[in-house]
């Protein structure tokens, strides 16, 4: 068995062995081993030039990653959490996402930025939010959310091969996830995946909510409702075909998204289903999202704020009842 954390680490190791242009930089990726221990041991193999600790200067080390990518390198920049990436928002949105188009295709930014997202570890309101939906709003970026050990390993190589900037969101509760790393070749980063087939309702999830949706699907199965679970995997560009294909079979859809409901990725997917599969629906699309509060610290409030399997089951019951 391999953990999500180990899979990520081995993917970085393999990429760095395969291509000397690849290097990792970020806060405490070196001797500390990465805040979430993803890069533990890599410094010993690759040295401080390629496992590069940075000062607490998110905007500048992300911007430096952009500059290095424009000048022939293939950097992997680790930002500790999505909350801290707000300090680098200018570089990501105004530079990484715009440069190819604005320069008339003269300069591209083949950069990978990895960051932790999501709640569930009682880290309160400045370390727990799911802001990947914001980034999925931005043309010029590709947004990935590995929800399995296989994707944690397999998404990095195609992300590095992408000629444009790729952001990888790693849900903080997944690092200890155990799984079989059955296939060490690269996976695709274009399509959603059906993680559990079903005929009665489609549950659409990604990253941290994939487990929530699968647990709900098991409960529903006990009640005789077979839910199909789709793992979006790539949040931009969205794979409409897989989603609509499923919804046309099941005629019902519930989106499970740890982001806030208002102006969310869940809202976008709901709109697309309405636009593309409205006449196939037997019930309005529903959404199970986080409560619209800054994430509180105590466990009972945090859990109350997050999408739970019971919430998903209840949403399905409302539309099948």
């Amino acid at each position: 068995m391999t953990t999500y954390r180990e899979a990520m680490r081995e993917a970085i190791r393999a990429a760095m062995r395969a291509d000397e242009r690849v290097f990792l930089m970020g806060e405490d990726v070196g001797p500390y081993g990465g805040t979430f221990a993803v890069s533990l041991g890599l410094l010993e193999e690759f040295g401080p030039e390629r496992i590069r600790d940075t000062p607490l200067s998110e905007s500048t080390f992300v911007g430096a990653g952009i500059g290095a990518a424009m000048n022939g390198m293939r950097p992997i920049v680790e930002v500790m959490t999505v909350n801290f990436s707000m300090l680098a928002l200018d570089q990501i949105v105004n530079n990484a996402a715009t440069l190819r188009h604005m320069s008339g295709n003269q300069f591209g930014v083949p950069l990978v930025i990895r960051m932790t997202t999501g709640a569930g570890r009682q880290l309160a309101a400045q370390h727990s939010h799911s802001l990947e939906g914001w980034y999925a709003h931005i043309p010029g970026l590709r947004i990935l959310a590995p929800g399995t050990v296989t994707d944690a390993y397999g998404m990095l190589a195609p992300a590095l091969a992408d000629p444009d900037p790729v952001l990888i969101f790693e849900h903080g509760t997944l690092y200890n996830l155990d799984g079989e790393l059955d296939d060490q070749t690269a996976v695709d980063i274009d399509s959603a995946a059906v993680r559990r087939p079903g005929r009665d309702v489609t549950l659409i999830a990604y990253g941290g909510t994939l487990g929530t949706a699968l647990t709900a699907a098991e409960q529903l199965s006990g009640d005789g409702v077979e839910a199909e679970v789709i793992d979006l995997r790539t949040l931009r560009p969205l794979d409409d075909e897989t989603v609509m294909g499923s919804v046309r079979r099941t005629h019902r859809a519930v989106i499970v998204d740890e982001g806030w409901r208002s102006g969310s990725l869940a809202a976008e997917i709901s709109a697309r289903i309405t636009e593309q599969a409205f006449y196939d629906l037997d019930a309005p699309v529903d959404r199970v999202c986080s409560a619209e509060v800054p994430m509180p610290y105590p466990r009972h409030l945090e859990q109350a704020a997050l999408p739970q399997p019971d919430d998903v089951v209840a949403a399905v019951a409302r539309m099948t009842g």
Binding site: F23, E49, T54, P55, S57, S59, T60, F61, V62, G63, A64, G65, I66, G67, A68, A69, M70, N71, G72, M73, P75, D90, Q91, N94, N95, L99, R100, H101, M102, S103, G104, N105, Q106, F107, G108, P139, G140, R142, P158, A161, D162, P163, D164
Partner: protein, 333 residues
Amino acid sequence: MSVTATNQIAPTGQDGHRRDLLHQMLRIRRFEERCVELYSAEHIRGFMHLYIGEEAVATGVMPALTPQDAVVSTYREHGHALARGVTAEAVMAEMFGKVTGCSLGRGGSMHLFDAATRFYGGNAIVGGGLPLAVGLALADRMRDRQGVTACFFGDGAVAEGEFHESLNLATLWRLPVLFCCENNLYAMGTRIDRAQASTDLTGRAASYGLEATSVDGMDVLAVETAARSATEAIRDDGRPRFLEFRTYRYRAHSMYDPDRYRDKAEIEAWRERDPIDALVRHMREAGELTDRDLSGLEADVDAEIDAAIAAAHAAAYEPVEDLTRFVYAEVSP
């Protein structure tokens, strides 16, 4: 876009060196004076920030760079682009929004890009180019290339966090960056001493541990000497340098700026130190420039700009069907 003869400067001490510097400054000034007319005639739209008064900086720094070096610039970058070797034709077409522009017309005045001359734009977020310069230099260092990255920004950028982060990181990692601060005393309409607790920019830069020098930005020969000295030092030890060029823009911040915040006498006092007039005076006194030489230079410049404007008028716009091209690369790995 190729480096053309228009931006070649004869080496210091050789015949024609000062003449070339004068030619370059005249080119930039006349180019922008024509841009004002074209803006009024609505051939150029959007924001346009003029460099008039500051020409000695770009003109003096660029001869210190080689084709292998990189340049990162700001939204006040027509002079940088022209002096670096982006053709007047490509810059003018870009201002017109035409497909023959150096960014296909997509960037306009604030976003000039040119891969051939390693001109990395045209950044319209104050301070936003500094981290890019650090990264460009990091890549050169990691790939064992000899390039220097020259990064232009204004005094306003010194108030941004990215300035401090970038000087720290470039010095910490010993990266070959030439930080070129064009201190024209105003961040839009806010005079530097109204926005910055310390106006000692070299002192603040030096606090990060890199050599920082203040230079008379109205004296093209002083600028060139300082830039050559700094780039030679960077090539020698790989460490960054900071140059503050004390300069002034005669025109408003942009075409939208009514310029209510400055005393006209202040502008006139700086005009007395005009870099073009100063060099003309110097060359006349040295017997290097006749009236006929000067009118010859002016005629060359006018002819080049006339041709650039005519070409911009004649050029096509990018087809609307191409609107969404190059948001992403078209060639998949």
